[in-house]
Symmetry: C3
Subunit: 314 residues, 3 copies
């Protein structure tokens, strides 16, 4: 952390994690960097997750405060988010197949929850439940202030053989086309202008940069543009992202570079690349007489330093 | 108009507008510029429009020539188009959710019209009616010569609160992915090669430039490429448009720069940007030895001066 | 062939073709170039093909080895592939509306085949049959080693009048958006890692380059990136292809330039353009200090000479 001059590092963690490592680091006066957890509830809201029913049962048992069913489920979710906040978390991260959101009547949601939990539901009901839970996660973020990040459009565990041999998240996820505009409308209609709500949208589908994400970030004060996920080592793709969104949103709606890495040693390299790419984009603007050098000097600080601080409330 | 050297300016107008301001300008011998109306029937063909039933009733009452129902509706539409043509209109503009077109049997269309009018129809029937009316609008353009422009793929009035407080068209429209190829097939099958028919296609979805719009404009003599709508102040996006379509269509299928502005003072600035962007694209072609300077000198006139004159029959 | 220094030229041929011209060329000791056939079974697997039933009947009669129905159909298909291999074929080419693949139970497939053949099937059943046959074609490629090339997403014979007057394949095909990720999953799940299986994917939908094709080619050893079909005379589009895929796949997953021409004289021109475009891309990499000149010298040979040899087993 010293060598790489890392100011802040966020892990992603299971909602049931007691976060003891995080708590000890916080208690250690000799450790002067920030290492914070991130609330990642995928296994508890994605009805397709392995052992969804078991996960939900454990969640309610641990933190449902004696309540059962859907009520216990939401209570437990709120309680664990608070536990994460107490351990330093600033955001909740959501890996979803699609960014579909849906506002269900609580009775209907409770009924669906019971069906999904017992595996007695159609594919359509499962999708509705997941869309509703994305909506509920936004509501909780509005309430408790955790920044909401969404990573849709990756078809996880694409190759069955690799999944059987090596398990989930072993490098065979393949992107899908993503639709944000209609999908997020129910969520944004109710929370898009809520004070303090921050929604950082990531995509693997470049077509959404100019068509959907930049217009949404241009209108909604809550929406921030996530850095170009999966293209984080890819200068061409990063420049395409910047060229696609800047004319609509300017430089101020960026969520900052998130390195999304599992390899500690890659952190400085990835950030170095990101900084050079942003500098390269600005250099082109300067050479084309579209911004001045003094303005470029301000913007590079905005993109590299200010953007992540603002978007993630650091 | 003098200061900005505006040769021609087109407004968009409600079909029921008597166009008195246009008629007085035409009668004023001291005014030497062209200011022309544009027939914009959205509120009378989009079944989702606010007070669609009332609009349709007023249209038939004003111009149905005593006929009722679907017959009176089409009669009135034709009659108002003629009124616009008499006042100088050269085009009819269609803002549609999707470019879906559909040829319905007249009996079926009349039945659907009655259902939609009374609000007694499914979402699917409403979509079918709108698709059929896009087809009928093309038929009328073939008959009366009005250039047909289509602006699909904007989800209008996206944010309910802003709509409630400020009304429609107040800056919260968000683009959707658009499909042209299958959607326009019924319309193009019957009218795509009709003599004198001009169809200018606009999009907010850049992916359609090289995949659908350029191939359609390359085949159909009626199809012209609309300037990159919503990116009209965006040099990067305008260059992407030009790069995406030119290799398929050459420079001759362009509909010319349409500034699409509501701010009079922005007109010269927007056209200035458009001209510089086209010049910049051609300059690159010259530097890369792909066209000669004399050819570039011809092409810039073609793109800036000839294209809009040809496409809009000016 | 001498003048243009053509090493190898592949035609596409009907499965029932006896390939006599190919066989005579092979027997001619004075002809030192390679001219090879390609197995193109579209008219026998696309249920929408003109006279599908007649085609299938002729196929089974010629090569079904006395078997009838679905069994005779598969037997005949295998037999004709072998005939093509004996005449020098290295690949089977599949022009499909979508890359949808589906693994059906053989009983179910046989039932569907009978329905489709008699024209007694729904649109949905026809689609299922075609998807199943794409899967079966992959299985046969795994068995017999023919490289499988797939060209999806062209809506063929778009304009009914032109089709009526000039017949199929007369220049009025228009691209559609294509989905590869979900569509190919059944096929890739079973054959994607099969030794010796080569699957070259072409597209007219540029959005799939970075989103789907490069990730699939990055994971599956069988998947190769087809050259940018329909943009083969289009330097801008070819550079977009290279920029979109290289950061994900490097230079080694390319299927090589396939000129896809019907005009003999265009062959050297098209290959010349392709070589210059690749050289131009590498030159930019060099100028940007991203690769060295010696590495660029290796890569250009890899892209132009090695890639097609490897992908097509030449």
């Amino acid at each position: 952390m010293d060598t790489f001059a890392i100011e802040i590092l966020a892990t992603t963690d299971d909602p049931l994690d007691e976060l003891n490592a995080h708590l000890s680091l916080r208690a250690d006066a000799t450790f002067t960097h920030r290492v914070i957890p991130t609330f990642r509830p995928d296994a508890y809201v994605n009805a397709h997750a392995v052992d969804f029913a078991g996960n939900v049962e454990r969640l309610i048992a641990l933190a449902g405060e004696g309540r059962q069913g859907y009520d216990g489920y939401l209570t437990a979710m709120r309680s664990r988010r608070q536990h994460f906040i107490n351990a330093g978390a600033v955001s909740a991260d959501h890996g979803v197949r699609t960014p579909l959101s849906l506002k269900l009547d609580p009775m209907e949601a409770a009924r669906l929850f019971d069906h999904v939990r017992r595996g007695e539901c159609s594919e359509k009901e499962r999708d509705a439940f997941e869309a509703h839970m994305l909506y509920e996660m936004a509501r909780m973020s509005v309430e408790d202030g955790l920044v909401m990040t969404v990573h849709p459009g990756s078809l996880r565990n694409y190759h069955p053989d690799a999944f059987a041999r090596f398990g989930p998240d072993t490098g065979h996820d393949i992107p899908l086309a993503v639709e944000f505009t209609s999908s997020l409308r129910p969520l944004l209609a109710d929370f898009g202008t809520a004070p303090g709500f921050h929604l950082v949208l990531f995509t693997l589908d470049e077509t959404t940069f100019s068509r959907e994400l930049a217009p949404l970030a241009g209108f909604y004060p809550s929406v921030y543009l996530g850095s170009p996920w999966w293209f984080l080592d890819a200068p061409e793709a990063m420049l395409r992202f910047r060229a696609a969104v800047t004319e609509t949103t300017g430089f101020s709606r960026y969520g900052g570079f998130v390195d999304d890495t599992r390899a500690f040693c890659s952190i400085p390299a990835r950030h170095n690349v990101a900084r050079r790419v942003e500098a390269s984009f600005l250099a082109r603007m300067v050479v084309e007489h579209r911004i001045s050098i003094p303005r470029a000097r301000e913007v590079i600080v905005e993109l590299i330093v200010e953007a992540p601080r603002r978007a993630f409330k650091l």
